[in-house]
């Protein structure tokens, strides 16, 4: 069996379809013996990215395209929508951080990006008026 596995998945922007992507990610991570915590973190990052795409992309095709690449020591996930792109202040997190009270700081749904950045080892966001791709990597920690 090859040490590298690539999986391509396209999901419609329907409620809970992010779970199909998360399940695929968890199966691949478990295949390479990622620990339980890492698998949960991968699932959450996939869920948040897919929800962001569904809720904010305004994509006409209403699809999210996901590419998984897993090797013995890392899982790379690339999630793409063909929507209108996201703004720079969302990308740099200035809308997400530093708010002083519970009443204002955490309500915006853009906080999903904050979660993804915290849980994954590498995160790259590329956005243009033709769509957005969020790529992230989770490295396997030694047992």
């Amino acid at each position: 069996m090859s040490n590298e596995h690539k999986v391509l998945l396209t999901i419609p922007m329907y409620p809970d379809m992010e779970l199909a992507a998360a399940k695929t990610g968890s199966v691949l991570a478990e295949l390479k013996d990622f620990n339980e915590e890492a698998v949960e973190e991968i699932q959450l990052a996939i869920i948040e990215t897919c929800i962001n795409a569904s809720e904010h992309s305004q994509s006409e095709d209403k699809e999210v395209h996901i590419q998984f690449l897993v090797t013995d020591d890392r899982l790379e996930v690339k999630i793409t929508d063909r929507g209108v792109g996201i703004t720079a202040d969302t990308l740099d997190g200035t809308r997400l951080l530093g708010r002083p009270t519970v009443h204002t700081d955490l309500r915006k749904r853009g906080r999903g990006l904050q979660i993804i950045r915290a849980l994954m080892d590498e995160v790259v966001i590329e956005s243009s008026p033709n769509g957005t791709t969020v790529s992230f990597t989770k490295k396997k920690t030694p047992p």
């Binding site: 409620p15 809970d16 992010e18 779970l19 998360a22 399940k23 915590e37 949960e40 973190e41 699932q43 959450l44 869920i47 948040e48 929800i51 519970v102 009443h103 700081d105 955490l106 309500r107 749904r109 906080r111 999903g112 904050q114 979660i115 915290a118 849980l119």
Partner: protein, 114 residues
């Protein structure tokens, strides 16, 4: 992964425990908020939310938990969580939920610290 959604409430004299089962997204979150608000409206302001049977919580679910915290804060109530996975606890701390609500390993300690 698509667990059956369920919410169980165990009411005692001075507190209530809400236990969720399933993916805490907008659907389950709205059910949870409705039940929590009903308890708060009835004067029960000491709440525990047991998430042991909730394996995944998305950011919308977190938003709804924050709304419950806000409702309790307005009435000087207390909310403690229990049954969180390591990742859930890390996310709650990152989202500052831990500043406004307690996090405990089990239901017994969550109730004892209300």
């Amino acid at each position: 992964m698509l667990d059956k959604l369920d919410i169980q409430i165990r009411e005692a004299k001075e507190h209530a425990v809400i236990e969720t089962t399933g993916y805490l997204n907008d659907a389950l979150g709205e059910q949870l908020a409705e039940k929590a608000q009903a308890l708060i409206q009835d004067g029960c302001t000491q709440l525990v939310i047991n998430l042991e049977k909730t394996t995944l919580i998305n950011s919308i679910g977190i938003s709804i938990l924050i709304e419950i915290i806000e409702a309790l804060t307005e009435r000087e109530g207390t909310l403690n969580f229990c049954g969180l996975s390591a990742t859930q606890e890390r996310t709650f701390r990152m989202m500052a939920i831990a500043k406004y609500a307690g996090i405990f390993p089990d239901e017994e300690s969550a109730i004892a610290n209300l």
